[in-house]
Symmetry: none
Subunit: 254 residues, 2 copies
Amino acid sequence: MQRYFIPQTDWEGNEVNIKGDDAHHIIRVMRSQVGDQIICNHQDGNAAVCKITSLNQDSVHATVIEWKKETVELPIAVTIAQGLPKGDKFDLVLQKGTELGANAFIPLKMDRSIVVWDGKKIEKKMARFKKIVKEASEQSHRNKIPEIALPLTVTELINESVNYDVKMFAYEEEAKVVGHQSFADIVSQMVANQSVLVCIGPEGGFSEQEARVLRENGFYSVRLGPRILRTETASLYALASLSYHFEELNGGNE
Amino acid sequence: MQRYFIPQTDWEGNEVNIKGDDAHHIIRVMRSQVGDQIICNHQDGNAAVCKITSLNQDSVHATVIEWKKETVELPIAVTIAQGLPKGDKFDLVLQKGTELGANAFIPLKMDRSIVVWDGKKIEKKMARFKKIVKEASEQSHRNKIPEIALPLTVTELINESVNYDVKMFAYEEEAKVVGHQSFADIVSQMVANQSVLVCIGPEGGFSEQEARVLRENGFYSVRLGPRILRTETASLYALASLSYHFEELNGGNE
């Protein structure tokens, strides 16, 4: 449905008087008729589906049928479970992941994680993490600040994972074997309001044991493109792809 | 298997003479022996599994066992033209952009770029940039090292842009107006072997003048998801989406 940003002055309650270029576009370009529907954006950030009630030479009158509940939030809830990485890479995952629409983050204590976040460090770290996601949420104009869990073990993650509709882990070795289900296949089967848990290994990847246990517990192993990605890049690839799929490819034109 | 990008001059048919840093890495870091295997990349984009036939103090000789038939390169050639950002963000764009499959990078001097890369700085910077993309190419097992242009003005970019099949710029304001073409629509119309130039503004975005000139010269204005992205995140969103579209959604199962 075609969308128009209507200046405040051209709204009267639920009635819209469309003039100028927008009217021209509706009348001459779209060749719309009385009864056709358009989306009108109000400057306050809301948008409404409107029905055209009259047209003349250079103006269009429309009336609101329904105010849309628009959101800049991903239609699916994506949780990134990230194997504890070295240095400040987790900060990057949080900041960029928030911009890209993540719903929550879980730091994961994994076999090949080199760093340890112990009791004293963790409180300070969590405070900094919360600041990072709050600032990134504001900067990216989100309606929601992602949650950050305390670090879990893989066993704890598996217990948590029963709450998710879809579970996957980015495992290059597995993704090379015949008959694996592709990332895009899994994504294409998801629908709005589902939740997905995406598990990314630390720098050294998953141990064979971890990969086996995840697979046994309903996690799909996927590849994220054909190149080898750094751990922090893999999280961002997953989120950007999910945004592209659900917000641009399907849904970008509503 | 460790991978090395070998300059054209060090190949003789199926024989490779490895010198300098790469030889040092093979001899001192990897402590390789005669008979060990490595992957040698040719500058034409091909790669071969090679067996080390001799080592001495500062050079390594290897011979091709098998040329690999790899397709780790994006089927479309993506050039990121990035408005000069502050701090070390350009480093991040280069490193992550290389992992995500970029073909080339163009630093752009834009109206709202705060930093200036002057004559003295630029030489040092370019040397560091080249090191970053070489290392990221090796790490992500690519067959090609992306090129990095010297900084261009928008006018110079427009002159360059005639060489591209598709041109776009990430302009949130423009993407809201009537009749914009969506990113996914444009991507969906692209086919293998085409080239695309994706222009990303600096922190402050595009000036109105820049947006107008780009539009007049055939650049589509697109949005990259509904959230406001930082300049460096926008580049990575574009590349991850293009990888997802061409390597996972279409072609992931070949």
